[in-house]
């Protein structure tokens, strides 16, 4: 598998004692949409800036397209589109001129401008000044500026930040489309699990500057295609035996609590109904492990 972005123990600190990023090792395969997930202040933006060379990486631990990033700056940006931190636009210029500027510095034929404008649905406002744009339009223009010239790699920092639900869906569709149609590798950061879940093929989770998880979306869903619940129940040990006999995996947690592994969340009501019908006295049912719980757990510790 070809890796487009690869870091080995990427570390960054402003002062000697406080690391912002610690031993971050991430691998972004070609053709993936890599969701970089983490709560606010986890170090997402710093990582993004390191990966785009805005913050210099003195230890030379970042490889892009298989080669050291430091050696490729700035020519590598003819193959990269980046939207780092919420939209860097020239507000006094029209949407068209913003794109013309990028086309000039990236040596891209200005004819492409109308294409990307069409893609982000801004053709109707192309001669309007960017300062008159709504937040969503600005965001879309910024994405267009990252997209122009068909880059091989896209860096998008919180691209749906501040958009309304409709806009979020539009952007998501757009990203999936360019990923599928043009094979663009997309590295996208977000603090919203649901967002990442819906479009990414790969996921990296960062909290307090450390990578907590990295893997494909498929791996993740297999991890979480079962559902573990905890039931507070009378005569717990008896019920455990009974359940074990009927082929259901259980553990005895405390005197009154047993953990049960079900195939999915959806099985919970039927399972509980059956138990009650069988005469069990149930005081409490709690989901022990799900994707969200796991994620929250991961970032809190």
């Amino acid at each position: 598998m070809e890796l487009i972005i690869q870091t080995t123990n990427l570390t960054f600190q402003y002062s000697k004692h406080k690391s912002i990023i610690e031993n971050l090792t991430i691998n972004v395969p070609k053709g993936s949409i890599y969701g970089f997930l983490g709560p606010n202040g986890a170090g997402k933006s710093t990582t993004m800036r390191l990966l785009t060379g805005i913050i210099p990486d003195d230890n030379n631990t970042i490889k892009i397209f298989g080669k050291s990033l430091n050696e490729q700056i700035p020519s590598v940006f003819s193959k990269i589109g980046a939207l780092v931190e919420s939209p860097a636009l020239y507000l006094h210029l029209s949407g068209y001129n913003n794109l013309l500027y990028i086309a000039k510095v990236k040596n891209i034929n200005p004819d492409k401008i109308n294409e990307v404008l069409e893609l982000v649905e801004l053709t109707y406002a192309k001669n309007q000044k960017a300062k008159q744009y709504s937040l969503g339009m600005k965001q879309r223009l910024a994405i267009a500026m990252a997209l122009i010239g068909e880059p091989e790699l896209l860096f998008l920092d919180e691209p749906v930040n501040g958009l309304d639900p409709n806009g979020i869906v539009e952007i998501r569709k757009l990203l999936i489309k360019i990923n599928k149609e043009k094979g663009v590798t997309i590295f996208v950061s977000s603090h919203l699990l649901s967002e990442i879940e819906k479009m990414c093929t790969h996921i990296g989770i960062i909290a307090k500057g450390k990578l907590k998880f990295e893997g494909t979306m498929n791996q993740l869903s297999t991890n979480f295609n079962t559902c573990k619940i905890e039931i507070t129940i009378d005569n717990a040990s008896d019920w455990q035996k009974k359940l074990n006999e009927s082929g259901i995996k259980t553990e005895l947690n405390e005197t009154h609590k047993i953990a049960v592994v079900l195939n999915s969340k959806e099985e919970i009501p039927t399972f509980i109904k059956k138990l009650i019908e069988a005469g069990a006295l149930i005081y409490e049912v709690k989901i022990l492990e799900g994707l969200e719980e796991w994620f929250l757990n991961l970032i809190e510790n």
Binding site: I54, I55, F77, E85, A88, Y90, H92, V105
Partner: protein, 741 residues
């Protein structure tokens, strides 16, 4: 290299897209236009172009010169401050710096492309300014009449030179402001810092000496020395140091920008620290090298040369010492050029070249100097420009303008005089400031006056303050007769700096005042001040100093004496105290000249020609009183007196008196035109032999009025001017008319 250039070029093109709609170049255009525009309006509506000028000059250069300083000192720096901030702000405001770093642009291209934008804006402003000052001149003379002598050819080389000098001089300020604007992301602060530096500069530049490396000062020098280098350099040294400053701030700004922090940029590795150190060292040393002062190298010969631009051909000139009127050399003038090599040792002083007994040219020099005087004599006006080894000294004299002194105000107005120590302290402080300032003078090219001149200049400054001190002491004596004024140690040391026998200062009037005050201050006799002074001088020990001093003193007093008796007394009592035979002879000669022109002496004949080329002699008028106005068309005071003289002629035309206006013009046609227009009641004559007239009647200055009696004898060889009532009173007396009521 080629790639980098391409990259930079792309970045500049991209910056032009980015600046769309910001009006940056328009701002430059307006800033360039504003001063020529205002100037045109003011001139056209006021129609005041100063007094008429006699010498030909380029009209464009003149008008450009009028407005150049307001551009270089205020408008242009202000523009640079605004433009740099504005250009950097385009990216600060919109997160553009990060955006640019995620494009294929190199950081050098990013930093330099925006800098180039400012340079283009500078070029537009300079060009607009120069272009419209030319247009402005054309416009002005659409509405007003141009001076006859004005030259209307466009001085292309001068303009191109000025353009390039302005551009180079602005580089340093631009690089510095750009550095600030990139580093400081707030628009207000980068503008404010620049603006306060500029305003601060404007305020204090009159109070203290601004260092040569201050960016605003470098621009100021372009207009201060609009002609450029005096020693033939293309750039002034300040303009060259602008390049160094610009390079330094571009380095500093670029590295800081590129590596984001000072530490990373300059100290993070040995290599970078070494580079920073090298750049700093090179900057400092190249600046020190450029800013070192120079002194003009001397020859082993003393050469005095010159050229006179005039329609008149001159023949002879004398190089004299102005005080003792000692002739140092006689100069032959051929084709209006002169050149002489002096072999004797000559102390530093202000000498005079008198051309054909009429045109005086002041020259400052000493042995081993080479002086070239470019003299222009046109329309009866004289203009001199001096070149050669004393140009720093000449510049110093020109720059040394009068400055207001609180101290002399206090002494003149009797303020704070009760506090003797305070006044003395202020006097010392003010003296010290001026004394030190004499050391710091530099020309445009960083040349300093020579030590002999500086030493003398310092003495003159000291004398000025000692004279003030004496004035103060006199006032103290009068206002507080019972209090004793004790001199402070500082003041005593000040007094010890000036010797009472300094021969080099003898030509200086203030020194004489000081000297005579010091010599006579203990003389309590209740007699005439002049007498006290001459007594004091004559009791000095015999020396050349005493000779010269006494000579000078006698000369002045003989001139001013109002009776033959006083003159005789002066000469009888003191002339033999001058032991130098040359000076002694000279003073007797002066005495005899005045004697010869005394009342009752036979008047030497004057031969002159009238407008019809008829020759006249004084003998023609025997039996009549003759009053002569010696004048010339180029002499302003003569022209002022002339109408009053004519009025007298009209009033007394029936009396037994002939009024004659005797011209000493070199240019007879000038006289002819001017005399033709004058009143017929005055006989208009032109002297045939001016040299003889000058000698016979000791004419040192004109106008001069001479009254000769009916027997051809002198009645008064130096009459009061006709504007004074005494003139008419004398006339009425000789004509036996009764006194006026």
């Amino acid at each position: 290299m080629k790639n980098s250039l391409n990259n930079l070029f792309t970045a500049i093109q991209a910056e032009h897209i980015k600046k769309r709609g910001t009006g940056i170049y328009l701002l430059s255009f307006i800033f360039g236009l504003i001063i020529p525009l205002l100037y045109t309006i003011v001139i056209v509506f006021n129609q005041e172009l100063g007094k008429p000028i006699a010498f030909s000059f380029n009209i464009f250069t003149k008008h450009l010169d009028d407005i150049l300083d307001s551009f270089t000192v205020f408008i242009f720096p202000l523009l640079i401050i605004l433009i740099t901030s504005k250009i950097a702000q385009l990216d600060h405001k919109n997160g553009g710096w990060q955006l640019m770093e995620t494009t294929p642009l190199q950081k050098t291209s990013i930093y330099l492309s925006k800098f180039c934008m400012v340079l283009i804006a500078n070029i537009i402003a300079i060009f607009t300014f120069i272009f419209f000052s030319i247009i402005s001149t054309y416009l002005i003379y659409l509405f007003t009449e141009a001076p006859e002598v004005a030259d209307f050819s466009i001085p292309v080389t001068y303009l191109v030179h000025l353009f390039i000098r302005l551009f180079i001089a602005s580089l340093y300020l631009t690089a510095f402001q750009y550095f600030l604007a990139v580093k400081i992301s707030s628009y207000i602060w980068s503008v404010l810092i620049g603006f306060f530096l500029l305003i601060g500069f404007l305020i204090i530049s009159n109070l203290v000496i601004i260092p040569d490396w201050f960016p605003f000062e470098i621009l100021n020098r372009v207009s201060k020395y609009s002609e450029g280098s005096q020693v033939g350099n293309w750039f002034l040294f300040t303009e060259k140091s602008s390049l160094i400053g610009a390079a330094f701030f571009l380095f500093l700004g670029y590295y800081w920008y590129s590596f984001k922090s000072i530490f990373r940029a300059f100290f993070s590795s040995k290599k970078r620290a070494l580079l920073s150190f090298a750049v700093l060292t090179i900057t400092l040393f190249s600046y020190l090298f450029l800013s070192q002062t120079h002194q003009v190298k001397l020859n082993d010969k003393t050469i005095i040369a010159g050229e006179i631009k005039s329609e008149i051909q001159f023949k002879k000139a004398y190089l004299i010492h102005p005080i003792i009127e000692d002739t140092l050399a006689a100069l032959e003038i051929k084709n209006n050029k002169f050149h002489t090599v002096l072999s004797n040792k000559i102390p530093l002083d202000n000498y005079k070249v008198i051309i054909d007994n009429s045109l005086p040219v002041d020259l400052l020099f000493a042995s081993n100097d080479s002086i070239f005087a470019s003299i222009e004599f046109k329309n009866n006006e004289l203009k001199t420009e001096l070149f050669g080894t004393r140009f720093p000294e000449n510049d110093y004299k020109k720059s040394n303008s009068f400055s207001w002194s609180y101290l002399s105000y206090q002494i003149n107005e009797n303020v704070n005089l009760e506090n003797s120590n305070r006044i003395q302290k202020e006097l010392y402080d003010e003296w010290e400031e001026k004394y030190n300032a004499a050391n710091t003078f530099r020309t445009a090219d960083n040349y300093t006056p020579k030590q002999d001149f500086i030493e003398k200049e310092k003495k003159l400054i000291t004398i000025d303050y000692l004279n003030l001190l004496n004035q103060f002491l006199d006032k103290r004596k009068a206002l507080f007769p019972n209090e004793k004024t004790v001199l402070t140690d500082d003041i005593t040391s000040l007094k010890s700096k000036i010797s009472l026998q300094d021969e080099t200062l003898i030509g200086n009037e203030n020194y004489l005042i000081y000297l005579l005050y010091e010599l006579t201050k203990n003389d309590d006799r209740d007699i005439d001040k002049n007498l006290k002074e001459i007594d004091a001088i004559s009791t000095l020990k015999p020396s050349q100093f005493k000779n010269r001093l006494l000579f000078n003193y006698l000369k002045n007093n003989i001139k001013e004496a109002n009776s033959a008796e006083t003159r005789l007394q002066l000469v009888e009592n003191y002339a033999d105290k001058i032991t130098d035979s040359k000076l002694n002879k000279s003073i007797l000669h002066i005495f005899k000249t005045y004697e010869r022109l005394g009342r009752g002496k036979i008047a030497d004949d004057i031969i002159a020609t009238n407008l019809d080329s008829k020759t006249f002699s004084l003998t023609n008028f025997k039996g009549k009183y003759v009053v002569i106005d010696v004048w010339a068309t180029w002499c302003g005071p003569c022209l002022y007196q002339s109408p009053y003289f004519e009025k007298m002629a009209l009033k007394y035309k029936k009396e037994n008196i002939q009024f004659i206006a005797l011209s000493t013009d070199k240019d007879i046609t000038k006289w002819y035109v001017s005399a033709k227009l004058k009143s017929k009641s005055v006989l208009q004559l032109h002297a045939n032999d001016m040299e003889k007239l000058r000698k016979d009647y000791n004419i040192e200055s004109i106008p001069r009025f001479i009254l000769i009696d009916t027997e051809g004898k002198i009645y008064n060889s130096s009459m009061p001017f006709p504007t004074e009532p005494a003139f008419e009173m004398i006339l009425r007396k000789v004509l036996n008319l009764k006194e006026m009521e």
